[in-house]
């Protein structure tokens, strides 16, 4: 497959198979049977709530709008712009019906608004929007016949190169630079243990770091930093007889060092999931670990023959 760069976006030939996303590879890594139901057979799950998905989109949409709008505004003007954008984003994306109570809906709105306030006051939001060169950009890469793609939330020009930022509610389950995190990647590849969340995170980092190098904003020799930024990393509430108010602070974690030191392992994990998907191999491996760790929260459990078979064994 050939890749070209056009106006900051990477594009591919239309007759090539669609590149896979880190999300899909992550699903396959968690449970190949779940991948089959969700993506191969396209079984829809009517009960899935959009509550937190839409909240994330409202937060992303706000930051994206501010990044694309800001030119030479003052700090205060950017903050006002962000809060106005948040109000619009929230109203257009969120629905009270996704929440069990009106109180929860209102509180969640306050919580998300507090995240925006924190990001643009005590957090690095002002620097991020002023340095932003790309938002919601599709990044593509290819290595050894494996084609990947994904959408980066924000790409910021720094003194030494580029910083890719992926916004999350929390960074708790994402890749880190600790020795233990690296060990988990190796354990999963060797089949010694089961760490699908951190593997998915590592696949995303790989896709974006490689993909950014195929865009027009990248120049050879640039340092590429990958940051997970948890907009709701720390949440608390302030008690008051007038009603509780959420307190929020964000937290950013740079993780590119783990990619560079574990590149071979991470691409081994990518290759395995990629080949499984391409070859339609959906027989679960590490089934005991999947059953113990993933089945309880799987939307397809009630129709999954593997899970049901466990319940009727003699």
């Amino acid at each position: 497959m050939s890749t070209s760069v056009k106006g900051g976006f990477a594009v591919t030939d239309s007759d090539s198979p669609r590149p896979l996303s880190p999300s899909r590879l992550g699903t396959y890594t968690r449970c190949s049977r779940q991948y089959e139901y969700k993506h191969n057979l396209s079984v829809e799950n009517p009960n899935q709530t959009r509550r937190y998905l839409d909240r994330g989109l409202a937060l992303h949409g706000t930051i994206e709008y501010v990044c694309e709008t800001v030119t030479g505004e003052s700090d205060e003007e950017i903050r006002t712009l962000a809060l106005d954008a948040f109000a619009d984003e929230w109203d257009s994306r969120m629905s009270r019906t996704e929440y069990a109570t009106a109180a929860h809906y209102e509180y969640d709105k306050q919580l998300a608004r507090a995240a925006i306030v924190a990001y643009f006051s005590t957090g690095p939001g002002l620097d991020h929007v002023r340095g932003s060169v790309l938002t919601e950009v599709e990044l593509e890469c290819e290595r050894d016949g494996v084609s990947l793609h994904g959408y980066a939330d924000n790409v910021v020009r720094t003194d030494d190169g580029l910083q890719i930022i992926d916004y999350k509610p929390s960074v708790r389950y994402e890749l880190s630079t600790t020795d233990r995190a690296k060990e988990k990647l190796r354990e999963h590849l060797a089949g010694e243990d089961y760490h699908p969340r951190i593997v998915k995170s590592a696949i995303q980092v790989a896709t974006y770091i490689e993909g950014i190098q195929n865009t027009s904003v990248y120049e050879p020799g640039m340092e590429v930093v990958f940051t997970y930024y948890g907009l709701l990393a720390n949440t608390d509430l302030e008690k008051s007889t007038a009603g509780v108010r959420p307190r929020v602070s964000g937290y950013g974690r740079d993780v590119e060092e783990t990619y560079y030191s574990e590149e071979e392992t991470i691409w081994g994990l990518i290759q395995r999931a990629h080949d499984g998907i391409r070859e339609n191999d959906f027989e679960p491996i590490q089934w005991d670990a999947i059953r113990e760790n993933a089945c309880d929260r799987c939307d397809y459990r009630s129709m999954c023959t593997d899970a049901l078979a466990e319940e009727v064994q003699f």
């Binding site: 109570t101 109180a103 929860h104 509180y107 509430l237 008690k239 009603g243 509780v244």
Partner: protein, 433 residues
């Protein structure tokens, strides 16, 4: 090795052991049997019922047997039927809830409830809880319906548990509101805890330096100052409800100060020599100035005095929010002619407050038998007490096995509480022999 039984061969029930037989034949009431799991408590109870019918000509419908689950009630009926034939089915074997259901159906007019009432199901209850959550003014707790890791951790789970606990203890929303008082005061009580910790930091916090006679004397002075500060806080508190409870607790803190000062004096030598050196930091730890226990403090002292008081105040704050949800939930149940499991017993108890009705209902039974009595809660105890009119009560249970404690079961129901209520209670603790 015994030959395997074929499907056609009846399974022969074992004969009672001597201690079991003694209980079965005993005419002593009220009687309590305490024994562990698998010792044949229920077996003994069934045999005793059978004995009353067979040997004492007690009419089966004069016997009331209460169990905890429908399955246990059915099982008891089946066992009696096997032994006694059709009369076995005439024994009134109920769960604590099902007897109340039947009583309320029959006496709905007197209980002032809709005779067509329904028992709320799980789906209805979830919907009612969600509606009730929107009646809360959230001043101390988060309105997030579900927790980040578990549904039970969110506001819905908290309200459900709160209502269940309060109802199992027979505590109404108005009683809670009266106890808690104003929300402003609950915030101030939290500030009071902070002030005590701050004061402890000023008066009894110690540096890294080793204890000496001078430092111990200084510490005793600090404890006296802290004690005086706590006394001042106490004297500013009200004389009722939550403030009274906090005042009682503060008095306990003051007494602890006295004990600590005495300890530092009597054990001075060993504290300075090193054997009891960690005791030098004990006052500061107990009054919340360390985030974790300093080295040498025994694991058994896992909670601090200020930490415990803070937890109490926070629970009161949570209750102050949830009580509005409790009120709304009760209102909606009433409007929809629904009752929940707790209401079945609560409304029956209210009905039994009428002496004529109580005499009529309790008069239907000469004997009351209760299985798994350790799992009853306060209102179930009260129900049994009301129904066992002539004290011809027989209860079995295991005081080491309260599986429903999390939802209000009070293990003292089979212990101290039963002894206090029935002075002539006889007890059997060994039924295996």
């Amino acid at each position: 090795m015994s030959p395997p039984l074929s499907e056609d061969e009846p399974v022969e029930e074992p004969s009672p052991r001597i201690p079991q037989q003694r209980i079965i034949e005993s005419g002593e009431y009220p009687m309590r049997v305490l024994a562990g799991a698998g010792t044949g408590k229920t077996f003994t109870m069934v045999r005793k019922v059978e004995h009353l019918i067979d040997e004492h000509d007690v009419s089966p419908d004069r016997i009331l047997a209460l169990t905890f689950t429908n399955k246990a009630a059915d099982s008891m009926r089946e066992k009696l039927n096997e032994k006694l034939g059709a009369p076995g089915y005439d024994v009134n074997a109920y769960t604590y809830h099902s007897i109340c259901h039947d009583i309320l159906r029959e006496y709905a007019y007197h209980a002032e409830i809709d005779p067509q009432f329904d028992v709320v199901n799980n789906a209805d209850r979830t919907a009612l809880i969600h509606e009730a959550l929107d009646e809360i003014t959230y001043r101390f707790t988060s309105p997030e319906v579900y927790g980040p890791d578990s549904h039970a951790d969110g506001a819905a789970g908290s309200l459900l548990k709160f209502i269940s606990t309060m109802k199992s203890k027979g505590i109404s929303p108005s009683t809670i509101e009266t106890f808690l008082g104003d929300a402003d005061r609950l915030l101030e009580l939290e500030a009071l805890v902070d002030r005590i910790v701050d004061r402890a930091n000023e008066t009894v916090r110690v540096s890294w330096r080793a204890p000496s006679a001078d430092r111990l004397e200084e510490m005793r002075d600090g404890i006296a100052d802290l004690q005086q500060s706590i006394a001042n806080e106490r004297s500013a508190l009200g004389q009722a409800g939550v403030e009274r409870s906090v005042a009682t607790y503060l008095r306990g803190m003051e007494e602890t100060c006295t004990s600590l000062a005495e300890l530092l004096e009597t054990e001075e030598a060993s504290i300075i020599d090193g054997e009891h050196k960690p005791a030098f930091r004990l006052p500061a730890y107990l009054f919340g100035t360390y985030s974790s226990p300093p080295s040498g403090i025994p694991d058994s002292i896992s909670v601090t005095l200020t930490g415990k008081l803070r937890s109490f105040v926070e629970e009161c704050q949570e209750a102050a929010d949830l009580v509005a949800g409790y009120t709304a939930y009760e209102q909606r149940l009433h409007e929809a002619s629904l009752v929940d499991f707790a209401d079945l017993i609560g409304a029956t108890l209210e009905l039994l407050e009428d002496p004529d009705i109580r005499a009529e209902i309790a008069g239907q039974y000469d004997y009351v038998f209760c299985d798994e009595f350790q799992d009853t809660d306060a209102v179930q105890f009260e129900l049994v007490d009301q129904l066992a009119d002539d004290d011809q009560l027989f209860v079995v249970g295991d005081d080491d096995q309260a599986i429903y404690e999390w939802r209000g079961a009070a293990v003292e129901n089979i212990g101290r509480r039963l002894e206090e209520r029935y002075e002539t209670l006889s007890t059997s603790q060994s039924i295996l022999g």
